[in-house]
Symmetry: C2
Subunit: 328 residues, 2 copies
């Protein structure tokens, strides 16, 4: 029997941009634009001030939140906050799961993507963006199938055995992807720092993939403000030679990993940096939980843990950890 | 006294992408990418399939909606759905106003912007995008000040006398702007059509600026599905020589205009097409309401009606019209 869950009692829904600064474009030739089908031609001077480096944040605040602090949801590379909304197969996503669990949620689109906008290259960004291809998503970053398994024809495409990602919804997943740059980490870090500065009553940071390094690094900058860091398959981490893990003594850390990691060069190459940071946190006496889902009998998860068909179960596991840490 | 409004009872919050198709990029040189600060170098093959032409739609559905159909909110050119969320001065935006009035809301980011993503040029889009400059926004499209009034120094910048846009929040407004292209109207129309096809129980379409022509045109395609069209300062409209206004006999239309229109070449040039379509609707016996706010004693509104400091009053006027038409 399908029982409709009780309605959420929402205080408000809204958004803001943080970070960013005014820069001036110069020396560009004049252009002409037609703004609407059948409309007149307008002369455009592309030179002048624009905003660069801002980040978009959308919040849903509950009438009666039960968590100790709002939950910030930071997406991965080439993605936007839409990752946390509905799953590609149309089920409620993690934003709803954590709202229902009593968290105010703040979902961001980081610099260069989604509603954060992006800046012209080569004038502001040094290089052109990358557009995620289906093959790269399928058999490399997101681990839907083993290397060599991608095929343009869905009937000839192979998944990993027991994959939990709903492969027939791959196009819906790919539609969520946005261009990414390789040169914007400093701008992005600055915007995340600005967001934490704004969260005066503290925040819990939950990240995915490329967001992982940003979250772990931002927490180092404001350890009194960050109540916990949850990293879903972070693709990078602070360097313990440069950063002092001792600063994280009061900040519990959870890392969650899916399946098939050893079969993909991207992950074989990316994981050691995260393991080094984990080891440094442990050596510094920090509270670290490191979960590899297969060792708990949860097999078949892709890199898109929050999109897999057991996304609710993975969210529940994160929530259990949060309850253990008295965060909710 | 500030009384907190009653909580919204929300059934669910989620999103989806509509439209779009797979295309193949070919002949691009290999690249190398560092995905995270301090991370390894990955080889990237930029050739392969990507999704093009999809649109993003975020919905908030109420436990007990009171309107006859959901409200679709379609933003203007160089903007995203963030326009309908909080105002640049941090007040609740029109999304909240219409949720509180009993509408399910569907806020979209059209093709080429925000969470809809965009496609590479010149491979897919024929040309490079335009980046909105502060000067263009200030003294041309959005009519915050008269022509010649923009200055990089806020202290030397002039507004129109009596302007309702909160000029001190101009940077926050500019941060909401995203690049726009002049070549994507057909792709965008297709995505809006796909959205209406999905709204099987009908929808009310509320548009701003560039969204106006898209809304008026989409309604012509599915007159049985569109319960009403509200156009805030549309920058274009269907051509009555090509389109049959008779098709709109059952669809009430509301047009709303702000102030200072005669002082800006963009609007002097853009309005006649809309007036022609209005005249065609009237001649066809359609239900048309055409409101120029100054004639009702509401003066000082910019092109950003939903961001001006009287945005609640303008929303209330739209709601009154909707009640008159028995839409809520």
């Amino acid at each position: 029997m399908n029982v409709e869950p009780a309605p959420l009692h929402v205080r408000d829904i809204g958004s803001f941009h943080v970070g960013g600064r005014i820069v001036r474009l110069e020396g560009l030739p004049a252009r002409e634009r037609i703004s609407t089908t059948g409309g007149p031609v307008h002369s455009i001077d592309p030179n002048g001030e624009i905003v660069v480096g801002q980040m978009y944040v959308q919040y849903v605040r509950l009438a009666e939140p039960r968590a100790v602090a709002p939950l910030l949801l930071w997406h991965g590379g080439g993605m936007t906050g839409a990752n946390w909304e509905s799953t590609p197969d149309g089920r409620p996503g993690w934003q709803m799961a954590f709202l229902r669990a009593g968290f105010d949620t703040y979902v961001s689109d980081a610099v260069e993507r989604g509603r954060a906008s992006w800046a012209p290259y080569p004038q502001i960004y040094a290089e052109a963006p990358y557009f995620r291809t289906a093959k790269e998503a399928w058999e490399e970053t997101f681990r839907f199938g083993p290397p060599g398994s991608w095929n343009s024809d869905p009937a000839r495409r192979r998944t990993h055995a027991g994959l939990r990602f709903p492969a027939e919804q791959f196009d819906a997943f790919l539609a969520q992807c946005v261009p990414r740059w390789g040169c914007n980490d400093p701008l992005t870090r600055r915007a995340y720092d600005a967001l934490l500065q704004r969260m005066e009553d503290g925040a819990i940071v939950l990240t995915h993939s490329q967001g992982g390094n940003f979250g772990l690094t931002a927490a180092l900058g404001l350890p009194d403000r960050v109540r916990a860091v949850v990293s879903l398959e972070p693709s990078g981490a602070p360097d313990p030679v440069v950063q002092d893990a001792q600063r994280m003594r009061q900040v519990p850390h959870l890392f969650v990993w899916g399946d098939f990691l050893d079969q993909h060069a991207f992950w074989v190459q990316s994981r050691p940096a995260v393991q080094r940071w984990r080891d440094a946190l442990v050596a510094a006496g920090c509270d670290v939980t490191w979960i590899e889902l297969p060792t708990r009998g949860i097999v078949g998860n892709s890199h898109a843990l929050m999109c897999d068909d057991n996304s609710d179960a993975v969210a529940a596991l994160v929530l259990d950890w949060m309850r253990e840490k008295a965060l909710v």
